[in-house]
């Protein structure tokens, strides 16, 4: 009975089960596209016909700006690379950057947000002003500045990936900070934190056992939204010339930058395919993120209408549903359960 929900409680699986209709369609579409993206990233060496920096097969050069053909399904770039191969290898670069950037920013952002929100005081105020300032700053510009500092502009595979990832990390930390801090402040006002405090639970235990786990429920959502932003920022960096050298890795934004002049002369394949790759990857991840967002918000979630006269009579005063959120699920939200008005100013610590 107790743990029967363990599988259904997993973030994405849980939402997939509770979704219906259009929302389920969007979530499934997003999951499929994202899975394709990740599979491509993993299997790039086997999927790509050539290497990302390969210029010749045997002794024959590919040639620059060749239109799509049997040898090069999507043509070749101005630098003489195979477009298809670079598109496929680009998925790997993007995935690596996402993983590193998000892992780093989650750890730092969550930790800061938790401490800041829980203890409040001057540290909290300073961190909030700092993060708000960084948050309001155009993220791409910040990433450019950091890319200059970290790598001096351009570099090899891991140098480039880490530079891009860490630039994005700094941009994301304030987002995690804000979300986790807001959640922490909200949870701190809940009665179960008060009841932990009155029995004399130490701050560390309250934070670890009671606040942290409840505050991180929204993380899957931000992770997906940030993942798509990470791809866009990476591409933006590449487009402005702060990407990774073409010999070190394939990067979609860099390829688009190089195709800028091609477009004017009507050469479409060098721009179209890396661009589409970005759009698809971002689209898939965003669809997942938006669906999670909708499902987490009881106001945005749609449910199917019940068949006439269907269902069991609700047991008196049991709140049905039992979703992850404490929001108004099922009848609880419809029936005024006779709760008395809060004490207004009294409850606020």
């Amino acid at each position: 009975m107790a743990r029967r929900l363990s599988w259904g409680r997993l973030p994405v699986v849980h939402q997939l089960r509770q979704s219906v209709g259009l929302q389920r369609g969007m979530l499934v579409a997003g999951l499929v596209i994202t899975a394709l993206f990740l599979l491509t990233a993993l299997a790039a060496p086997w999927l790509a016909p050539y290497g990302f920096s390969q210029l010749r097969s045997g002794d024959v050069l590919f040639g620059a700006q060749q239109p799509p053909s049997a040898a090069h399904l999507l043509g070749t770039t101005v630098g003489g690379y195979d477009v298809l191969s670079r598109v496929i290898w680009g998925a790997r670069t993007a995935a690596l950057v996402i993983v590193v950037a998000i892992a780093a920013s989650i750890v730092i952002g969550v930790l800061l947000g938790l401490v800041s929100g829980y203890f409040g005081g001057w540290l909290d105020r300073v961190l909030v002003v700092l993060c708000d300032a960084v948050y309001a700053f155009p993220s791409l510009l910040l990433a450019i500045l950091l890319a200059i500092v970290i790598s001096g502009g351009q570099s090899d595979l891991w140098g480039g990936i880490l530079a891009a990832a860490f630039s994005i990390t700094v941009v994301f930390i304030p987002q995690y900070f804000r979300v986790i801090r807001a959640e922490t402040v909200r949870i701190k006002a809940e009665a179960f934190i008060d009841s932990a405090r009155v029995i004399g639970t130490s701050h560390r235990r309250i934070m670890g056992r009671h606040v942290l786990r409840n505050a991180t429920r929204t993380l899957p959502l931000i992770v997906t939204l940030n993942a798509s932003e990470a791809i866009l920022t990476l591409a933006g960096l590449g487009f402005l010339g702060f990407g990774i050298e073409p010999t070190a890795a394939a990067e979609w934004g860099y390829d688009l930058n190089k195709s800028l002049s091609d477009v004017t002369s009507g050469i479409w394949w060098t721009a179209l395919f890396p661009g589409l790759a970005i759009v698809l990857a971002v689209l898939g991840i965003t669809l997942v993120g938006e669906s999670l967002n909708d499902l987490a918000d009881p106001r945005l979630r749609s449910r199917r209408a019940a068949a006439v006269g269907a269902g069991e009579v609700a047991e008196t005063s049991v709140v049905p549903g039992g979703t992850l959120g404490a929001g108004p699920a099922g009848l609880g939200g419809l029936e005024g359960s006779g709760t008395l008005g809060d004490e207004g100013i009294e409850v606020r610590p």
Binding site: I199, A306, T316
Partner: protein, 575 residues
């Protein structure tokens, strides 16, 4: 259990036909847990100028029934049956369930209007109240700007808003809670509908304000001839206002009768249980006397567990605003094994005192000594040693448990934190014992908080508070979020445990009747000050302070005859 077989109200008043007739109404909802049948074959009829109270506990389907009358069900709901609505003159009829959207719109406001539970939520915060009233008029008639304003002022005056010419241009947040509810009623009255559906119209209000709003609703019936469907869980409110009562349970109407026969001679088993569960002022005298008997000599001389002298608690103001004084010079004491009931309305500072005793809110002046520790200027380090000796039960059973821990883990927390057990598993024997003492099956320890009902959670909360055998228990409105029948069980349990374990207790509540059941002494708070203190018999039997008298007189009693008499008393008191 059959609904139709029982009495069906005074036939004389239905000469011109009913304003609304509900026939075999069935409503079901889609939820995560599958479809739920909220209303199951309900039949109701309301005569012109009649107040029909639909009473029931949460989940009984009373609100859903009310919303169906206006066609306000969400998209997840499916309704079947008929809700036939007549206009005030009785010249036209329409079935709400079958109406199109535009037909429905034409009926809303003119034939039937609604008063909501939470007045602050029912008013749009960014428009003036006058604008919102006029908008309702304009939805149905062509009304000029000046004419609309005149009508809005007129209707505001009729519901007793002072200075309506100014009030009409104010925004909702500039009114107090009671005035907001008056404005909501004014909006409902604006088009002179034949029927008003009032969904728990006084639940969010203090008891003194509740009495005023009930008076206003009575005037709606008497002066405007408006019929009212009153949705409520409060038997006192029913006795005060209703002409006829329909009792709902699990989506069905289990009994319908005129108000006197229902209270004098309830037919259905459920109605009887419900009426018995309602706490009544004066019911606790026996308990208190029994406790006094049981006490050893010299008990009163023992050192008190809590002593407050000139206690003052302020919340700092923001942006250079002056600090808000929540508690202002309160003296009180709680002796070992004694139950002190702390009564007051919202903003009286009662919760603040409870939190200060638990060390959750800092004391800013005077003195507060808890189990020998001075709380003024105390640091966590100073308070920690006495923490195991204090238990705390919070108001909201929904949020007082960490949703990610099982009940057993939650109850074991105090034991683990204070080193009485290594972890939750180690503490399990004691947890089972505790759960049994609050009459919960052991197996419930493995459940998550959301899998328990409100009453069960509150009992588990009591188990957690008692885990370390405290000398003092602070209970902050422990039953106010619960249904009456559940409340009765929790209160019984509470009294029993107090008798067996003998802890001292500060019992905070807004409800005099509830406090009366448990308390040895009662302290009445009003705007941060202690206005009256004494034994239950003194405070409730012969109140001295005007506020206490008013509080007592405002509390509607579940007896229509008695309540009518009390209403007169209250009126006399107000003048």
């Amino acid at each position: 259990m059959s609904a139709q077989a029982t009495t069906t109200g005074p036939t004389a008043s239905r000469a011109s036909g009913a304003v609304v007739t509900v026939r075999d109404l069935t409503v079901s909802f889609a939820t995560d847990a599958g479809p739920i049948l909220a209303v199951d074959g309900v039949d109701l009829e309301v005569a012109p100028g009649e107040v029909l109270a639909v009473v029931g506990e949460s989940g009984s389907g009373k609100t859903v029934t009310a919303k169906t009358i206006l066609g306000l069900l969400p998209e997840t709901a499916t309704a079947r049956g008929a809700v036939v609505l007549a206009n005030k003159a009785g010249t036209s009829e329409s079935d709400v369930v079958a109406l199109s959207r535009s037909q429905l719109r034409a009926v809303r406001g003119t034939d039937v209007a609604m008063v909501f539970q939470e007045p602050s939520a029912a008013l749009n915060p960014v428009f003036t109240v006058g604008w919102q009233i006029v908008e309702g008029l304009r939805a149905h008639r062509r009304v000029g700007r000046a004419e609309g304003r005149r009508q809005a002022i007129d209707v505001l005056r009729r519901v007793g808003i002072p200075d309506p010419e100014t009030a009409v241009d104010k925004y909702p947040h500039q009114f107090s809670g009671g005035q907001k509810q008056r404005v909501v009623i004014a909006m409902a009255l604006a088009l002179d509908p034949g029927l008003i559906v009032a969904d728990e119209p006084t639940t969010a209000l203090d008891v003194t304000v509740q009495a005023e709003i009930l008076d206003l609703l009575r005037r709606c019936r008497d002066e405007f001839g408006t019929a009212i469907v009153l949705i409520t869980h409060n038997m006192g409110v029913v006795a005060d206002l209703a002409d006829r009562v329909a009792v709902m349970y699990q989506g069905k109407v289990v009994e319908q009768a005129d108000v006197r026969s229902l209270f004098e001679d309830p037919q259905a088993e459920y109605t009887r249980t419900l009426l018995e569960a309602v706490p009544r002022v004066g019911g606790g005298v026996v308990n208190a006397a029994a406790r006094v008997e049981a006490r050893a000599d010299g008990w009163a001389e023992g050192a008190p567990v809590v002593v407050a002298e000139g206690l003052r608690i302020e919340y700092p103001g923001r942006f250079r605003k002056p600090a808000f004084v929540a508690v202002d010079g309160v003296d009180l004491s709680i002796r070992p094994g004694e139950v002190l009931g702390l009564v007051g309305e919202s903003g009286s500072g009662k919760t603040t005192i409870g939190r200060a005793i638990g060390g959750l809110t800092p004391v800013t002046g005077g003195s507060l000594s808890v189990l020998g520790v001075e709380m003024l200027g105390a640091r966590e380090r100073d308070v920690r040693p006495v923490r195991p000796r204090i238990g705390f039960v919070f108001q909201d059973p929904a949020s007082s448990f960490n949703p990610l821990l099982t009940i057993a883990e939650c109850v074991a927390e105090p034991l683990v934190v204070h080193g009485r057990a290594a972890d939750a598993g180690d503490a399990r024997d004691r947890v089972d014992e505790l759960l049994e003492s609050v009459q919960l099956p052991r197996s419930y320890g493995d459940r998550y908080p959301h899998e328990l009902s409100g009453g069960q959670r509150q009992r588990a909360s009591l188990a957690r508070a008692l885990a370390l055998d405290p000398e003092l228990l602070v209970a902050d409105e422990p039953t106010s979020a619960l249904d009456v029948s559940v409340q009765a069980r929790v209160l019984d349990l509470f009294a029993e445990l107090q008798r067996d374990l003998g802890f001292a207790c500060l019992f905070i509540s807004h409800d005099l009747a509830v406090v009366d059941l448990l308390a040895d002494r009662i302290a009445v708070l009003y705007r941060g000050r202690l206005v009256e203190e004494g034994t239950s018999a003194q405070v409730l039997g012969a109140p001295q302070h005007t506020y206490t008298k008013q509080l007592l007189a405002s509390l509607p009693v579940p007896d229509p005859v008695l309540q009518a008499a009390r209403r007169e008393e209250l009126r006399a008191l107000r003048v």
